[in-house]
Amino acid sequence: MRITVTVDGTRYTDDVEPRMLLVQYLREQLGKVGTVVGCDTSNCGACTVHVDGHSVKSCSMLAVQADGSEVTTVEGLSRDGRMHPVQEAFHDNHALQCGFCTPGMIMQSMDLLAEDADPDEQTVREGLEGNLCRCTGYQNIVRAVQDAAHRMRPGAGPDAERVADETAMSEQTRAEVRQS
């Protein structure tokens, strides 16, 4: 089947097998290996990406279902050589050890911050329930998400508006795509 998908700002048209998962399409066909696979039952969240601005476990979606969509992966977050505030917060708060869960954690954290710009600890913990990390015990991940929330507050710097609202971010990406 033929699909057209925009991934991290680049438009792709491809023939894919109907059974191909979105995560396989990203990794194997597009070489977007920053997004990883940690399970076969949609429990770990390692494969989380954004599809049209919302977080999705890309192992639980077929590539053909993404036809016409805009996908953002962890590889598409930095702008002008600068990391996204959530990425920076993960670094600054030591929210990763092996880093395998990290792409999914970052994408899910952005989604959660789009829902709640100033989440308390319990909200963060519950918002990340579908993403497993075996290394960190989550404490620094929770801290990083709350720290990112502060960095992204209106007035917290030029990065703020980028993700204060997922739809806004998605619009911006679209604008960039149109320009290119």
Partner: protein, 792 residues
């Protein structure tokens, strides 16, 4: 500890430096093995036995062979002559029974999940499709699952040719060893005895990155990329197992997504991929699914522990007897038999126990083999003794901290040689406990507990204590030799000054999340007086780090970084000679500090970077000095290191539902000097999560046919962020005296300490309701039954 003082001189060591590793990882710029592709690469899929014990009568691969894209179908019979037997490096006794362990089953399978055949195809999807076309005629054999019944006369046998399900029995007795009295006599004459049997449930390491292997046989060396903790051991063992020459093999551990002991292995999958790729002459990749990982990668724990403790009425312990059954699973993997034996040295923990007897029988069952899982032997021992100390306190009506203090080694009694022969170099249990008590609010929580009991609150409060130690820094080679381990415990390191003054550090340790690149950079920057960013740490490739014994057993800093420190010191010694020549003075007159060599009492100096360039040019070197500013060192520790700490846990137990809520957790750890406090704290937090998971959530469950019913992440409950609280962590610092850095290791501390702290807390919450023990994991059902059903 002058060396320790030195190492602080440059100011890097001790800083919470943000990690070098992160930049790539947070951007998705990663090199997991499964990310890699090579030209002409084929994909391999593995057919695994659905049965726990069966004879293979016939395998029909003809249909699979003819399917689209299928390059080869390989069965055990096809590789029977090449695959050898998977290695077990730890024959704990001379008469240990060890079955032949093929990578690909030849005529029988011994656990559900064992590899039976593989398909190699153009794509992973085609390989998987073809698996379904392979037909196997199995003849079912009786399944052995329960260790206790496996040891009874007339039991069915896992390996009938061995004539028994017992692999080996290992015994230590302090009266025989001359390190103490007789435990039996102590028990016979005791004022108080406590007897308990604990079950260490089977656990799954559950590293987040599934194992993956890529083998490229097209070069002069066959190159293997593997998601392994142990690239060096793997290379050696591939050579010894398959007969391929060691110098024809290169192993690379690229980015590796966690291990926790689970990737301390030489796996059937690695051997099969290696053989198949060489057979086909093409690169072959295999990546396991999570379900395959759970049913075939080694598990951990799985022991039955019978303990008897003798004590006086004042709480002084007079003897301890430990009898273990340890489940090996179906085969002995790399260190399977040695895991429970490591625990033998830790049952006496921080206590002065005058008489000790330990025996362990290793038992075969038709389950996935067990092997190292975070802590490996030491969490089991710590759990049991810490539970027993709480039970003794309850028996005597004493405070559990008071009972411990009565028995522990006082800070002025170090070095102290224990009843199990180890010499603890340093420690301060009083200090760690005092700090933990304070942070926890121990007395206030005890008062609240009493109040809730008085009220008959449906939610009861429990307070759990764990004052643990562990042996880290595996290991002095002579000790490993005495324990019949097949290798040494040294580590290798090298330091190379490049002409531009930058530094390459090579380490035989193989990190997979621990942050070696950052910590080693801090250490070397201080040592050589160069910038943190001027140091690059190379690891995990037998070509660049040609020698090593890899990462496990909290050994990286205590052994691996020490090798790097010694190599750096050799570089400084070489540079000093050259500096003296350049500065035209005697070598003894040259002082080195902050990266500069200075003529004593003058301001004439040169930098290590300038020397590096001069060495490269080699135009004017002193006689007999090689034009090289590289050095290497191999460090063999003289002793283990002994981190310790006091962990306190408060849980709220709903007596009507059995639900346990972790209310607060305080961990005060003493890991000696700290290179990077941020990394140390991260290790403790992650370790706590895993130890708590054993106490409350995780268990690998087999049904009566030997099928793993907790075979996915939906059934095997790795905790999520929502299942855990924030922890309060702090440290005391009592430097180790057995290495120049004064460090002790931190990788396993949290896991070892937390399991008993949590279970003690849960039992403490409901002890007044007649409960003396709750089997792990303490699920609501088990807790409810303990309260209401009487049975455990």
């Amino acid at each position: 500890m002058t060396a320790t003082a030195d190492s602080h001189a440059g100011g890097e060591v001790g800083q919470a430096r943000l990690r070098k590793e992160d930049a790539r990882l947070i951007a998705g710029r990663t090199r997991w093995t499964d990310n890699m592709s090579l030209p002409g690469m084929m994909h391999m899929a593995i057919l695994r036995s659905p049965l726990a014990h069966a004879r293979i009568n016939r395998i029909d691969t003809s249909e699979a062979r003819s399917m689209s894209g299928v390059e080869a179908v390989v069965t055990g019979a096809d590789v029977a002559d090449d695959q050898g037997s998977l290695p077990c490096a730890w024959p704990i006794t001379e008469d240990m029974k060890s079955p032949n362990a093929p990578s690909l089953a030849v005529d029988e399978v011994n656990f559900a999940g064992e590899a039976v055949a593989v398909v190699v195809a153009r794509s992973a999807a085609e390989a998987h499709d073809a698996l379904e076309a392979i037909e196997i005629d199995y003849e079912e054999l009786p399944v052995v699952l329960d260790m206790s019944s496996a040891m009874t006369e007339g039991s069915d046998l896992v390996h009938p040719d061995l004539g028994t399900n017992a692999s080996a029995t290992w015994v230590f007795d302090s009266a025989e060893a001359g390190t103490g009295g007789s435990a039996d006599e102590a028990l016979a004459g005791a004022e108080v005895t406590v007897h308990r049997t604990f079950r260490q449930q089977r656990l799954i390491p559950a590293f987040m990155e599934p194992r993956s292997i890529l083998v490229d046989p097209t070069g002069e060396q066959t190159t293997m990329w593997s998601a392994t903790q142990v690239p060096h051991i793997l290379r050696l063992m591939l050579a010894m197992t398959t007969g391929v020459d060691e110098h024809k093999i290169r192993v690379i551990a690229p980015d590796v997504g966690g291990g926790f002991g689970g990737k301390l292995q030489v796996t059937p999958e690695e051997v099969i991929t290696f053989l198949v790729a060489r057979k086909l002459g093409k690169p072959v990749k295999y990546t396991e699914s999570r379900s395959e990982s759970f049913t075939s990668a080694h598990h951990g724990r799985d022991q039955i522990q019978k303990l008897s403790l003798a004590a006086n009425r004042d709480g002084t312990v007079t003897g301890l007897k430990v009898e273990l059954l340890a489940d090996m699973g179906a085969y002995l993997r790399l260190v399977t038999p040695g895991v429970p034996i490591l625990g033998a040295f830790m049952f006496n923990a921080i206590y002065k126990i005058p008489a000790y007897h330990f025996s362990c029988t290793n038992v075969f069952t038709n389950k996935v083999p067990t092997d190292a899982y975070r802590g490996a032997g030491r969490p089991e021992a710590t759990f049991a003794i810490e539970r027993m100390m709480d039970e003794l306190a309850a028996e005597l009506g004493m405070d559990p901290l008071e009972v411990r203090e009565r028995n522990w080694i006082k800070h002025d009694e170090f070095p102290y040689t224990t009843v199990s022969t180890l010499t603890y170099d340093s420690g301060n249990y009083e200090a760690a406990t005092a700090r933990a008590r304070e942070l926890f609010g121990y007395d206030a929580l005890r008062a609240e507990q009493a109040e809730r009991r008085r009220r008959g609150d449906t939610v009861q409060l429990g307070i759990g204590v764990s004052t643990f130690t562990e042996m880290c820094g595996l290991a002095p080679s002579r000790v490993l030799g005495a324990l019949s381990y097949g290798a040494g415990g040294w580590e290798h390191g090298a330091v190379r000054m490049l002409p531009t003054g930058k530094v390459e550090v090579i380490t035989g340790s193989s990190p997979h999340g621990q942050g070696h690149e950052t910590a080693w950079s801090q250490i070397v920057a201080d040592r050589l007086g160069v910038g943190f960013d001027d140091v690059e740490v190379l690891h995990g490739d037998t070509q660049s780090s040609h020698k090593g014994l890899d990462t496990y057993g909290s050994r990286s800093l205590t052994v691996g970084a020490m090798a790097v420190v010694q190599a750096a010191d050799k570089v400084i010694a070489k540079a000093r000679k050259i500096a003296a020549h350049m500065l035209e003075c005697a070598e003894d007159d040259v002082e080195f500090s902050g990266g500069r060599f200075t003529v004593r009492g003058t301001d004439t100096s040169t930098s290590i970077q300038e020397i590096a360039l001069a060495v490269f040019a080699a135009h004017d070197l002193p006689d007999g000095v090689e034009p090289s500013l590289d050095s290497e060192a191999t460090f063999d520790p003289e002793n283990f290191s002994f981190p310790h700490g006091t962990h306190l846990c408060a849980t709220e137990v709903d007596t009507e539902t059995g639900r346990v809520r972790l209310r607060s957790y305080v961990a005060v750890d003493d890991v000696g000097n700290v290179v990077n406090p941020m990394i140390v704290e991260g290790q403790v937090q992650g370790g706590l999560a895993q130890g708590i998971a054993q106490a409350l959530f995780e268990e690998a469950v087999y049904d009566e046919t030997g099928t793993l019913t907790s075979g996915t992440l939906a059934d095997y409950l790795v905790p999520s962020a929502a299942d855990l609280p924030s922890f309060t962590t702090d440290r005391t610092e009592t430097p180790s005296t057995t290495n120049a850095l004064g460090v002790k290791g931190v990788g396993e501390a949290g896991t070892i300490a937390s399991t008993p702290a949590v279970v003690n807390s849960v039992v403490d919450a409901v002890r007044h309701m007649g409960v003396q023990d709750i089997e792990m994991p303490c699920t609501p059902m088990r807790v409810w039954r303990a309260i209401h059903g009487g049975a455990r």
